[in-house]
């Protein structure tokens, strides 16, 4: 199968693909997260279940990396939208981590 790279002719096409990538990333990953939670809740605890839990976490990672590479070489602006969404959440997580750390560090300092 030969991958065809989309040629963007108007700004609207770029914006539309960017929005598809950005919003789609939240929708797809929200769905994957919801499914993994439901499956994990339906399972009993055990060794085989922990492997399944690992796979449930790994599969979305592989899907995300695969989708990013696929769209990077076919519809670049969708890939950019996905990257923007991914980066936005990661920056948010880093900032939240900073806040958590400051709270913990202050407790250690003043208690």
């Amino acid at each position: 199968m030969k991958l065809e790279r989309k040629v963007y002719t108007t700004r609207n096409e770029k914006v539309l693909d960017f929005v598809i990538g950005f919003v789609g990333w939240f929708l797809v990953n929200g769905l994957l997260y919801g499914c993994s939670i439901l499956i994990l809740q339906a399972m009993d605890s055990g060794t085989s279940d922990s492997i399944l839990a690992l796979l449930l976490g790994l599969l979305p990672l592989l899907i995300n990396i695969g989708a990013l590479i696929f769209f990077a070489f076919t519809r670049r602006w969708i890939a950019l939208g996905i990257l923007a969404a991914f980066a936005l959440v990661l920056v948010g997580v880093l900032l939240l981590g900073l806040v958590f750390y400051v709270i913990c560090y202050n407790q250690g300092l003043f208690n």
Partner: protein
């Protein structure tokens, strides 16, 4: 990270690197770096790190640290490379990252030292040994070693950045090789667990990185000078 980003923007402007290339490559490098940093925890802690290292959703858990800098550098490099190929960039503008990474690490490691969390060293009686919370002995201030090296390395990379031989990705490769060499050495006084052969996980990553760079330059050199090789046989 912010200092590194600021340096990257300044260096990209100096190199007249267009925004249409800077933004996707930087975004890809950031996301790839975060994923790489987390996945490389497998080299530090083995299979027990798998639930945090291989789970996409654990990547968004602020209670878990971002992971290893070395893994982050490798992840960022791979993602940046894929992104630059995807946008059809001729040549490589990734050299703008080299001084930014060194400066970012120089500043970031001071933060690591101040919170005494990441990579504090083994016990020592050297005059510059420092106390850390939780232990009653003095240790190597390894984040400060890291910071000092990266500050010097930043200066070296700035001096070399305009050399013709240091273009098309060579400055970045030199930057990574220099840090890998330094990190391999400093791991002997850090407190990371030994994985095998008396070496820690990061040391194996450093060796892999150096081997990959040696292979790349070896193949490149032999393709540039095939006549020299034939003549020497």
């Amino acid at each position: 990270m912010l200092i590194g980003l600021l340096m990257l923007i300044m260096e990209a402007q100096r190199r007249h690197w267009p925004k249409s290339e800077v933004v996707p490559i930087t975004l890809a490098a950031f996301v790839g770096g975060m994923i790489g940093a987390r996945i490389s925890l497998l080299f530090f802690y083995g299979a027990r790190a798998a639930p945090a290292a291989l789970n996409l959703f654990a990547l968004f858990d602020p209670r878990i640290g971002p992971g290893s800098i070395l893994g982050g550098l490798i992840g960022a490099y791979i993602a940046g490379y894929v992104a630059s190929r995807a946008i059809g960039k001729a040549g490589c503008a990734c050299d703008a990252f080299a001084p930014a990474i060194a400066l970012g690490l120089a500043v970031g490691r001071i933060g690591d030292f101040m919170v005494a969390e990441d990579g504090m060293g083994k016990a020592t009686t050297l005059p510059w040994a420092v106390p850390v919370p939780g232990v009653d002995y003095l240790v190597h201030p390894t984040p400060l070693y890291d910071s000092a090296f990266n500050l010097i390395w930043f200066g070296v990379l700035l001096l070399l950045r305009d050399r013709p031989a240091m273009q098309n990705g060579n400055l970045l490769k030199l930057g990574l090789a220099g840090y890998a060499l330094f990190r391999f050495g400093v791991e002997f006084v850090r407190n990371n667990p030994v994985v095998a052969l008396g070496l820690t996980g990061p040391q194996f990553i450093c060796l892999g990185l150096l081997a990959a760079l040696a292979l790349y330059y070896g193949r490149r050199w032999s393709s540039i000078h095939p006549a020299d090789w034939q003549g020497s046989v």
